[in-house]
Amino acid sequence: MQKTLRCLFIALVLFSFNSTAQDFTYSNVDLVNVTFSGGNLGIRRDLVGGSVYSSPQYVAGASTQNPVAYVSGVAPSAAASFTIDCPTVPATVNVRGFGSDSINFTSASCVVNPSATTIHTFNYPATVGSHVFAASVVRLFKPYTINWEISFDGGTTWKPIGTSNNTLYVTRSAPQAEGTTFKWYHTVFDISCRNAQYMSADTAVISKVWSEFTDQIVLNYNGDSLFYYKVMNISNTSLGALLQYRDAQCYTFAQLFLATIKIQGVVRTSNYVYITPINNLVCGYSVNRFLVKNWTFGTATGAGTCSTFPWRNTYNTATGTIPPPYNQYVFLTSDVTDQSGIPGSCNIRPSSYFNNHQIAKIDGVYYDACYGVTFPSLVSIKTAAFSGWGFRYSSGSTTNCFFTNNMSLSDLSETISTF
C-alpha cells in the first residue's frame, strides 16, 4: 500500500511538472544591449570637440560601456534587447530588471520576433524606473547595475538572464548650459560626482569637489593623471585639450575646477580670474614677469642696468626659456635658477616663470587648481607663492630678464570674468 502510494505520488509529480512548469530548454537567453533614456544628459567624450556618447549605452561584450547621467529627482528609463536561441519559442515572454539604488524596472510582456533560424530577438520597451534618484543629491554609481530576469509563465517564476553595468552620474541640479569652452565632458561629471557624492548644498559641493585638487593628484574618469606642465611649455589651454592630452596650462585647471561645479548646477558669477603684474615701470621697463617658488638668487650681475632688479638672466629669443626637449629652463647666463618648489597637479616641478596665471574665485576665496591651494586675498598670493618679479626686453637674438626678490616692488592685478 505504501509502495503504491509512493508510486502514485511520483507519477502525479512528474505529470504535474511536465504539464505546467517552465521549459528551461528556453534558457539560452542573452542580453544584447541596454539603452537609457528619459531625460538623461549628453556626456561628451574627453576630446577637443568631443562627441556625445551614443546609445545603447550598454553593449554586451564591448570592452567599455558608455556612461549615463541624470539630474537628481528624475527616474531613469531603460530599454533592453535580448536574443533567445531555441528551435521553438513562445509568442511572448516577460522581462523585468532590478537596478542599483533599488530602482526596479517593472515586468513587461515582450513579443518574441519570428526568425528563420533558432535565434530570435525580443525587446524590453523603454520603461521608467520605480522611483526617482533622490532630489538635490549628487550620486555616483560606478557601476549602475541592472539585473535582468525573464519569465516564461506570465510572471510566476523568474530566471536571471544577464546584468548590465554602466557608470551613472546623478547631478544635484541641472548642469549649466554648454559654452565655447565649458562642455559636459566625461571627466567633468566624474570628478564632480566622485567627490561630491551625497552632497546637496552649494558650499558642500564646492568644498568636496575642491578636495580633488588639494593633493595635487587630479585624475580623469579612467584614473589617469592630469598633468600641469608635464611638458614644460605645453601649449594646451582649453578644457578639452587638458582632458584629451592630459597635460596643459593653468587656464585649463581653473576651467576644470569651475566646470565640475557648473555641472552640478551651482551658479557663481565673476568666478574666473586672470592675474598678472600691475605693469609698473622699473628702470624704464614694465614689470611683467613673476617667478613661482622656488628660485634661488645667486650673485647679481645686472645692478649696473637696474639697481632695484639686479639679478639678470639671458636666453636665446628664438628658442625661448624652454628649448627642446622642453623639460627645463635653459638660460645663456643665469643669476637666478629654478628649484623644486610648489608642486602642481601630478608634477612636482612644473613651469614657474610666468607673465600671467588663471585661477578661480568663489565666494571671495581664490582657488588655484593647478597647485591645489587657496588664498584669502589677491595680495596674499605673491608672498605665499612667488620668489620674485621680473621684466625683460629683447635685443637682437638675446632676451634679457631682470629680477628682484623684493616682493614689495610690484603687485598683482586681476581681471575677473565669468566662466
Partner: protein
C-alpha cells in the same frame, strides 16, 4: 611622440586649415587676397594669400606668431595689413603672453610657410618675446577702469602710416583709441552696449565700426556716430567682410556662400553685397 604630433599638426594644417572659419574679413590689396584662420588647438593664426582671381583653396599659407583664444564670448582675431606689414592683436592664452604687449607688427616677407621645422611652440616663443608695435594702453585703461570683464570686445585697423585705430568695449562702454606711432590718444568713454563682437574697417581715411547685429557707425576720437543711411545689413557671425583696398569698396559675403573651389573674384561678383 612630440615629433609625430608636430608632423601631424602641419599635415593637418596644410590639408584642413580651410575648415576653420575666416577671421572677420578678406582684404584685397594689389590684386592679392589676404585672410586669416585660427587653429583651435594651438590658437595660432595662419595668413592665406593668393591672387584675387584664384581659388581660395590654392592660397599660400604663412604661419603667424600671433593668435587669439577661444574663450567665451569669442573675440575674432583682430588683424589688418597695410602694404608689406600685417598688424595683429595677439590674445592667445599663454602664461608668457603679455596682453600689454599684444599689439604686434610683422613684415609679411618674414613669415614662413608652415613646415615641420617650425613648431607651434617655436611660434609661441617667438611671439611672447616679440617687441610690441605699441603697448596696449587701451586694454590697460579698460581693465583699470573696471577689472570685471563683461561685454569685452576690441578690434583695430591701420588707417595710414601714422594712425592705428582701436576700439574697445567693456561693461557697456566703448572708447576709441589712436596711436600715431609715438603715443596714444583716446576718445571720451561712451555708453555703447554691444551684444557681441564688432569689426572695424577703414575707407577713404574714415574708420567704421560694424556691430555683429548689422549696425554701422563712423568712429573717431570725437566719438561714435551712426553712419547715415548705411548699415552692414548682416550678422557678422555668419558673414565675412571684404575690404577691397584696390577699388576702395567694402562688401560682405555670407560664409555659406564662400566656396573654396571658386575664384574669389567670381565669388564676389556672384554673392558679395556692397556696403560702400
Amino acid at each position: 611622440m612630440r615629433k609625430t604630433f608636430f608632423v601631424s599638426f602641419f599635415i593637418l594644417l596644410s590639408c584642413c586649415v580651410f575648415s576653420q572659419s575666416l577671421e572677420r574679413k578678406i582684404i584685397i590689396q594689389n590684386g592679392n587676397y589676404f585672410f586669416t584662420t585660427i587653429d583651435e588647438l594651438t590658437q595660432l593664426a595662419t595668413l592665406h594669400i593668393g591672387k584675387d582671381t584664384a581659388k581660395l583653396k590654392n592660397a599660400k599659407l604663412l604661419a603667424m606668431p600671433v593668435g587669439r583664444n577661444f574663450d567665451d564670448p569669442i573675440i575674432p582675431f583682430s588683424w589688418d595689413l597695410v602694404d608689406t606689414s600685417v598688424f595683429a592683436i595677439s590674445f592667445f592664452l599663454h602664461p608668457l603672453n603679455d596682453r600689454n604687449e599684444a599689439i604686434k607688427r610683422m613684415n609679411i616677407a618674414s613669415l614662413k610657410e608652415p613646415n615641420k621645422t617650425i613648431t607651434p611652440m617655436d611660434l609661441i616663443m617667438l611671439s611672447v618675446d616679440m617687441n610690441p608695435f605699441a603697448y596696449n594702453d587701451p586694454y590697460l585703461f579698460v581693465t583699470r577702469r573696471s577689472n570685471t570683464i563683461s561685454g569685452f570686445f576690441y578690434d583695430a585697423v591701420v588707417v595710414n602710416d601714422t594712425s592705428f585705430v582701436m576700439a574697445i568695449s567693456n561693461n557697456g562702454e566703448l572708447s576709441i583709441w589712436n596711436y600715431n606711432g609715438k603715443e596714444w590718444k583716446h576718445s571720451e568713454v561712451q555708453k555703447f552696449p554691444v551684444e557681441g563682437f564688432f569689426s572695424l574697417f577703414t575707407l577713404k581715411n574714415k574708420t567704421y565700426l560694424a556691430t555683429n547685429v548689422g549696425g554701422l557707425y563712423e568712429i573717431s576720437l570725437k566719438g561714435i556716430v551712426a553712419a547715415k543711411n548705411k548699415s552692414v545689413g548682416t550678422n557678422l557671425l555668419s558673414s565675412t567682410l571684404i575690404i577691397n583696398k584696390d577699388d576702395n569698396t567694402v562688401s560682405y559675403i555670407k560664409n555659406s556662400d564662400i566656396n573654396q573651389h571658386t575664384p574669389l573674384n567670381e565669388l564676389i561678383k556672384k554673392y558679395a553685397v556692397r556696403i560702400f
